[in-house]
């Protein structure tokens, strides 16, 4: 089970900052991020792909679960 970062409700760029801090601190192999806006999905995807992660996402009710893997 991947760690989960809850970035729901935070406006851009805070969700990306949260992912950036987590990646810098722990460099997790997998990470799930919960967000509630498509723009956050896009921003996290662009950032995570630039750091070598494979990124996928799925809708969960009104939210999105973005999954980072490497």
């Amino acid at each position: 089970m991947a760690d989960v970062l809850d970035a729901r409700g935070y406006s851009c760029p805070i969700p990306v900052v949260m992912v950036q801090k987590e990646v810098a601190a722990n460099s997790p192999a997998t990470l799930d991020v919960l967000v509630d806006a498509r723009v956050a999905v896009e921003n996290i995807t662009r950032f995570a792909e630039s750091r070598g992660y494979k990124v996928s996402f799925k809708e969960e009710g009104p939210d999105y679960r973005v999954t980072l893997n490497r």
Binding site: V16, A37, E49
Partner: protein, 367 residues
């Protein structure tokens, strides 16, 4: 690793650039095809929130931008009513960003349009804007946040769009309740239907592309993500090309630029306010309009704050006055004492808001 470029950003940048030149050719003030700060200020004037006679008009561009975003986000199912992220602080930040923009004489979008028009004063503004963004980034990295939003009722999400529809209906049905400038920038405008149509298209594209003047530099510095910056550069290039093609470009200069002044310290500091405040808000004034259209109640409050800020800017004489040449007499324009004080008050408020909202502990920790 290379990042994918979002073609929508380039498309939006190109359309904004062309639209800005086009609207100016059809009557909007020079180097002001689009200016969110100026146009909100004109609406504040038209509704008599301030009485500066030269800047009063109900700008259909503002109405179109909000509704264009609303329609596009409804069509792509991105529309979502949300609110609750420090609305009162956002209102204040909106006021401060507006006052900074009116000291400089333009929002970040008009700054780029002025740059493309050959106004070197706007490059000084750009330097200030960048400094402001860097200060904002410093606090973001320290953990600054205005806390999260929550799902809201549909009425919250449609509030500003509703106000815009009401403005449009009143503008068409009973224009006599508004005041319209008879001279000055407020008297210069493209035909209503053209302004509205162009702004609807730009609003839709800006929503789709996430175009944001502050986001470009912020993401480039913070994440080495140049996606949004590309939109910024595209607008500049298209405005410059458009001006050259229409024969309006007369070279780069600081002297007697349209609706601008050459008080460089205040051009710089005004845009420091705008850059810093916009980073704290999470987007430039244009982006706030677009987010409000998407159902974001906090951005709607920010827009209302900007309108009130514009009213104060003119009621208290905080706004910059443009350089002018009348009957051979050159007036430098610039900023009065009130405006200078307001800039420093604004900087102080931004500092307090920035420091006060740094999260003590990592609340967003992995759980």
């Amino acid at each position: 690793m290379a990042r994918k470029i979002n073609p929508w950003v380039i498309a939006a940048g190109a359309v904004v650039g062309i639209a800005a030149v086009l609207l100016t050719a059809f009557g909007n003030p020079a180097n002001m095809g689009f200016c969110i700060a100026c146009f909100l200020r004109d609406i504040a004037g038209a509704t008599k929130l301030h009485t500066a006679a030269v800047v009063q008009y109900v700008r259909p561009e503002i109405i179109g931008l909000v509704l264009g975003s609303c329609i596009m986000s409804l069509a792509t199912k991105e529309w979502k009513a949300r609110a609750g992220s420090s609305p009162a602080v956002r209102f204040l930040l909106g006021m401060i960003v507006m006052i900074g923009a009116l000291v400089f004489l333009g929002c970040p979008l008009r700054m780029v349009i002025r740059m493309g028009g050959g106004d070197l004063n706007a490059f000084v503004g750009l330097a200030g804007f960048f400094v402001g963004i860097l200060i904002g980034i410093f606090f973001l990295r320290k953990g600054f946040s205005l806390k999260r939003t929550y799902e809201a009722t549909k009425s919250e999400g449609f509030a500003l769009s509703g106000v815009m529809i009401a403005l449009l209906v009143l503008l068409i049905a009973v224009p006599s309740i508004f005041v319209f400038s008879e001279s000055g920038p407020g008297s210069k405008h493209a035909p209503l239907i053209l302004s509205l149509a162009v702004a609807l298209a730009v609003g839709a594209l800006a929503q789709k592309s996430r175009l944001c003047m502050v986001g470009g530099m912020r993401d480039a510095v913070m994440f080495r993500d140049f996606n949004l910056l590309l939109g910024f550069v595209t607008i500049f290039v298209f405005v410059l090309l458009g001006n050259v093609i229409l024969g309006r470009f007369t070279g780069f200069s600081t002297y007697l630029q349209p609706i601008a002044h050459a008080s460089q310290l205040w051009n710089l500091l005004g845009m420091v306010l705008v850059g810093w405040g916009s980073v704290l808000l999470g987007g430039c004034p244009l982006r706030q309009l677009i987010l409000a259209g998407e159902g974001n109640g906090d951005s709607a409050v920010t827009v209302l704050g900007m309108i009130v800020g514009a009213a104060f800017a003119h009621n208290w004489g905080l706004a910059g006055s443009a350089a002018s040449l009348a009957d051979g007499v050159y007036k430098a324009g610039g900023i009065g004492t009130n405006g200078k004080v307001a800039v420093f008050v604004g900087l102080a408020v931004l500092l307090i808001v920035s420091v006060w909202n740094i999260a003590k502990k990592k609340e967003s920790k992995v759980k």
